[in-house]
């Protein structure tokens, strides 16, 4: 069975290709770096990363590095390295530090 990632020849995306480029943001660089550093250390593999990306329920709604971030989180939780709760907590703390509402 193919998933939402299996786009070769998919009919839903027959429109023109958007050739605009956004500047890579720091958080995207960081997401890329954390994901590949974990791979480099043998903590997870590229294939696990793909499986985690491809099984995201909201695959099509997420941006590219949002999918990476969600997949990395999923794998870290699965492997018992981090818990969802501690990530929730720390994310809330950082949000307060940044002074965002």
């Amino acid at each position: 069975m193919s998933g939402p990632h299996d786009l070769g020849g998919a009919k839903d995306f027959s429109g023109p290709i958007d050739k605009s480029q956004h500047e890579v943001e720091d958080w995207e660089r960081l997401t890329d770096a954390i994901t590949t550093a974990l791979d480099g250390k043998g903590i997870k593999t590229t294939d696990e990363h793909r499986r985690a990306v491809e099984s995201l329920e909201n695959y099509a709604e997420l941006g590219y590095y949002e999918r990476w971030a969600a997949a990395t989180e999923k794998l870290l939780v699965e492997k018992g390295i981090l818990t969802k709760e501690e990530i929730d907590e720390r994310a809330a703390e950082i949000k307060r530090e940044w002074g965002e509402k």
């Binding site: 786009l7 998919a10 500047e23 997401t31 954390i34 550093a37 903590i43």
Partner: protein, 210 residues
């Protein structure tokens, strides 16, 4: 934020508090605190990717255009050929360089994701990751290339290569007519990222044609 409002390679502080940015920062802090990763390891990865760019691919192509023996090595063993030019594309991923000829034009896509020769060319462009490119490149490659302003002559066979996590492709375009006498550096400037993916081809500079 850049002070002058001009484009800058490192804009912003990355401090937009979207759920993803917050969770990534949280993961970074927790992973470092727990000793899973160090800040240095994370920074190394950022520098590694920032140091990769299409200029690497252009250098390889220009060298291949001017040195037949190098071209053969590039086609046979891409990784060791990149080492010769001081690039490090080591790692578990295989690289295959596919050569455009008067008979065959090559186009690269990754229908399943965004697999790309990152260790050589850096992060892929946004359009390469778009659902439209991934869907259409295998179905109507000529229509896709037309959108980028190029279409191979009708008698040329178009070969589309679907990348995987383990095998990454790069196109070796044909050296444009009218570039005889140009040195490697000048030739490299003709080689765009898009031509390394195959949605376009290098063209001779206008003053060479004149």
């Amino acid at each position: 934020m850049s002070e002058n409002g001009h484009d800058h390679p490192h804009p912003g502080t990355g401090r937009t508090a979207t759920p993803s940015t917050l969770r990534v920062r949280a993961m970074e802090k927790l992973l470092v605190e727990k000793g899973v990763l160090t800040e240095a390891e994370i920074q190394d990865r950022i520098s590694y990717m920032d140091s990769r760019s299409p200029a690497n691919g252009a250098k390889l192509v220009a060298k291949a255009w001017t040195d037949e023996a190098f071209k053969n090595r590039l086609l046979e063993d891409t990784k060791s050929a990149t080492f010769e030019l001081g690039m490090d594309a080591s790692g578990p991923v295989e690289f295959i360089v596919v050569e455009n000829t008067p008979e065959v034009h090559n186009l690269i896509v990754c229908t399943l994701c965004s697999c790309y020769p990152r260790a050589i060319l850096g992060r892929p462009p946004d359009w390469y990751k778009s659902f439209e490119y991934r869907s259409r490149a295998v179905k109507e490659p000529r229509a896709v290339m037309r959108e980028f302003g190029y279409e191979p002559p009708e008698n040329v066979e178009v070969r589309v290569h679907d990348s995987t996590a383990d095998i990454r492709y790069m196109v070796l375009p044909m050296r444009p007519e009218g570039t005889r006498g140009m040195g490697e550096e000048g030739l490299a400037e003709l080689v765009s990222r898009d031509s390394l993916v195959g949605v376009s081809v290098p063209e001779a500079p206008s003053h060479f044609n004149a």
